[in-house]
Assembly symmetry: C2
């Protein structure tokens, strides 16, 4: 299978959400045009995105909502549960663990770590906060995904730690970009960057804003 653009994968994720809405409303069929309108893209884009993975539609008719949803779940790897650990028991970590869509979509938070002795050992959202220095040697099974929610200065050290113990995917909330081996996937969510992009667009009103 050929390389798929990240932008394509992100749109697939969006399409899936729309399909679930259509499904909840009892709609059994959608056209690429309907999906496109929801997602702020074009029907050609929708069809092209899907075509990388197969032919899921019926010509003259559209796509079966439940069938396409199921295909997308398969493609996105949502057919299974993923073990997630959160490193950093601060506000961001707390918000994440409480986030509804998290567990809902098969991402199970199985452990929380911190390095602050005042927090370690306390119950936190139903989980005991563990000492990060025990990562990988405690009884917690190796997680699939590590969420890094620590200050920027500590982010790289945490990344190194989890990578050393075999974690292959990191969701990074520190504003510092992380350096990891090629076979580890990193997604960085950088709040400051988002805000500054908005700030830029405010002082450059002539430039059109992009609604993504």
């Amino acid at each position: 299978m050929k390389r798929i653009a990240e932008s394509t994968v992100r749109r697939l994720s969006l399409y899936l959400r729309f399909l679930e809405e259509f499904e909840a409303r009892g709609q059994v069929t959608v056209s690429s045009e309907e999906l496109a309108q929801q997602g702020g893209t074009t029907s050609a884009q929708v069809r092209k995105d899907l075509s990388f993975f197969g032919s899921f539609g019926k010509r003259g008719l559209g796509y079966s909502v439940p069938e396409l949803a199921s295909q997308l779940r398969e493609i996105l790897g949502l057919g299974r549960k993923w073990r997630v650990v959160v490193v950093g028991a601060g506000k961001i970590g707390a918000a994440l663990v409480q986030y509804r869509g998290f567990r809902q979509r098969g991402f199970d938070v199985v452990a929380v770590y911190d390095n602050d002795p005042r927090v370690i050992g306390h119950k936190w959202n139903g989980l005991v906060v563990r000492d990060v220095r025990g990562f990988g040697t405690d009884e917690v099974q190796r997680p699939d995904i590590a969420v890094v929610a620590v200050p920027a200065e500590q982010a790289q050290a945490v990344a190194d730690l989890v990578v050393r113990h075999g974690v292959k995917a990191i969701l990074n909330f520190a504003s510092a970009p992380l350096t990891v081996p090629d076979d580890v996937a990193v997604k960085t969510v950088n709040m400051a960057m988002e805000l500054e992009t908005l700030s830029y667009s405010l002082v450059n009103r002539d430039v059109e804003s992009d609604d993504d």
Copy 2:
């Protein structure tokens, strides 16, 4: 001035952070190569990004750290304070308001809104939670940026409300994309999408992961 790619603006934001680190360490000059290494990009990219806005470097020498930092702040519109309101006094809102880099970079949270009568009126991170129905008619000055941190079903209604009252920039944490007029900038941070991108890369190891 011509249209600048969003990716370029995001990188400028990154460069600024690195420059501030260099500044703190007392380094007075940087080359495009040094900036590139920090940011995981190439020196040509750095120079191209900057060239859209002017010629800030000295040939054979590089860039003055404080001077370039100051230029970038200017370009990004960080030379002033921005009034930010948070709509949705939940966990995500809480995490955001506490986020250090927020106020640090000139983004002042001046009000918090919610629609839950059990929360309205309570002190929350030093601010009283206001009734969202009073938005625009209360004594709070019109904000520059609205952070939408409400459930997906309510996100569009909130967006409509703040846009109606003249807000021109929205940071959206709901997983639903927002529809807004052309002159309003929206940045959507979609946690589910990030997680699903990671999930995808875990089930498609052959595809190389991108460290952004």
